[in-house]
């Protein structure tokens, strides 16, 4: 072919079927995070409560005299998931704040969306990065604890009596991870600065909790817990684990708030993630 021929040439490579491109973004994002030493340190730190609970289960299974104090029950699994809230918060900011904000900052969104990649795939790929790590610090250790209980005790007795724990841990962790993922992605799409996104996310979490705290202190009534994002999640997860709900707010209201937040986040993402930015 003469060197001056600049005419169009057809792509000769393999074509992946549509709807699978998100996995490329997800894989690249996950690998980028795994290569960071500080992130792996944080991940190990997030697994410390798992080690503590594993020791508790081991001691309760092997020393009957401690069973009354340390025996695992549904509440222990619920408490474990609640303890992971702090790590979920830190990980959400560490991993999620820059997911879309950095692409917007580098004007990479236009490049991404000029490829054979749908907007939904881009969002799914970015969401998968954060979602994977959040499930790694909530669902995976929770299920492993359940497995360890069976292994240390050497019987399926506990599992049979508490069979609901498997779906409870799954649904609880899923709800927590989905809420954190979508809110963070929506915020990340609103700004070009990942630091601003991080502070906005913390602001939403802690400020809504502060508003509820003030209302609780004034009225002494917990029925306004729907004002706090984290309280809504606690209320629903308590119910999933068959525990007495800690607030007077009906669980349906809490569920509506959580689902509403996810829907709002998806709507924000739909508006903000566009290949062409129209400047008026």
């Amino acid at each position: 072919m003469p060197i001056h021929d600049q005419s169009y040439r057809r792509y000769g490579g393999l074509k992946t079927s549509p709807g699978r491109a998100w996995s490329v973004i997800a894989r690249a994002g996950i690998m980028t995070m795994i290569r960071k030493r500080a992130f792996m340190g944080l991940m190990l730190f997030a697994w410390l409560p798992f080690v503590v609970r594993a020791v508790q289960i081991y001691v309760a299974a092997n020393y009957p005299q401690t069973e009354t104090l340390l025996a695992p029950d549904a509440k222990m699994f619920r408490d474990f998931l609640e303890q992971q809230d702090f790590f979920v918060f830190v990980m959400t900011i560490y991993v999620g704040a820059g997911l879309i904000a950095q692409d917007r900052r580098a004007n990479a969104l236009q490049i991404y969306l000029s490829k054979p990649l749908m907007r939904a795939e881009y969002i799914a790929g970015k969401a998968a990065v954060l979602f994977t790590f959040l499930m790694l610090v909530t669902w995976v250790p929770g299920i492993l604890l359940l497995f360890l209980q069976v292994m240390f005790k050497g019987s399926f007795e506990f599992l049979k009596a508490n069979l609901f724990l498997f779906p409870a841990i799954t649904v609880g962790a899923l709800l927590e991870a989905l809420l954190a993922t979508f809110t963070m992605l929506a915020l990340s799409s609103l700004s070009k600065s990942s630091r601003y996104v991080g502070i906005l996310y913390s602001g939403i979490l802690f400020f809504t909790a502060a508003i509820y705290g003030a209302m609780l202190a004034i009225t002494g009534d917990t029925s306004l817990s729907w004002l706090s994002v984290s309280s809504n999640l606690h209320q629903i997860v308590d119910l999933i684990f068959r525990q007495t709900p800690r607030y007077a707010t009906p669980w349906q209201v809490s569920l509506i708030v959580v689902l509403g937040l996810i829907a709002l986040s998806i709507s924000v993402l739909e508006r903000r993630v566009r290949g062409v930015e129209i400047v008026t």
Partner: protein, 298 residues
Amino acid sequence: MNDERKATTAGTGLLTDQAPARPLPPAPGFLTACLRIFDLSISEMLWSKRTVFMLLIVGAPVLIALFIRALVSLGAPVLEGPGGVRMTGPAIFGMMIWIFYLRFTIPVLGVFYGTSLIADEVEDKTITYLFTRPVRRSAVLVGKYLAYLGCTVFVVLPSVMLVYLLIVPIRGSLGGSFLDLLKDLSLLALGLAVYGALFAFIGAKYKRPLLIGLIFIFGYEQAALAFPGYMKYYTIAYYLQALVPHAMPNDGALSLIQNIFRETPSLLTSVVSLFGIWLVFLALAGWVIERKEYVLEQ
């Protein structure tokens, strides 16, 4: 050729003799440099997107106060506290100072602004322009820190004043709790100064200052205050909370535990410690920025 060169040289020599080069003006002193950076930064800070965030944070308590005031004016029984105890305006004001300002607004604004003093310039790749000016690097930091202080103090304190004017007259008197208001305003300004200095250091030193800051205020400080022992001595909140003239509210399990293990250092200890923390971290921030090489990512 040689004659030509001589003529030019001679000509140049003549010109030099007639108009000597203007001597370079001396570099501004540390204080003048600080004030110039302050002047440059204050308008940038005030008219930026982050001011919207700050206004939301300080505006929400005012809106809540307005809402409570409106409900009370309409006769709604919103002040029937726990156990049928009727709450007074000054008690609600004290509680709002604790929950909104002391536990949330002051540390969060400190983290947000303090960490971005230098990190913003690094992120925008504009730090080179500041560092190539004939001013000391630490003057850049101190000037920006003063701009942060001016910006936040003049937004947060008016918000506290508005909440005070709206809430305290409900079964209370403005005159009766005026002294408490002055104490509140002073301690909030002190809090902004100390948190700002700490996070200015963290922002100058570390690559991910926001995450470290958030872990410090929402993780370490909260946990340290809930444990007995010496850990709480290494927090800012411990000394700042000792200056609050209002009772600590019990608005959650963590507050309850913190109340159980709460120790109140003396006024002198608190003020001296806060001053010490402020001085040490501001000096450290200046020291770090004088020595650190900031690598701008491409």
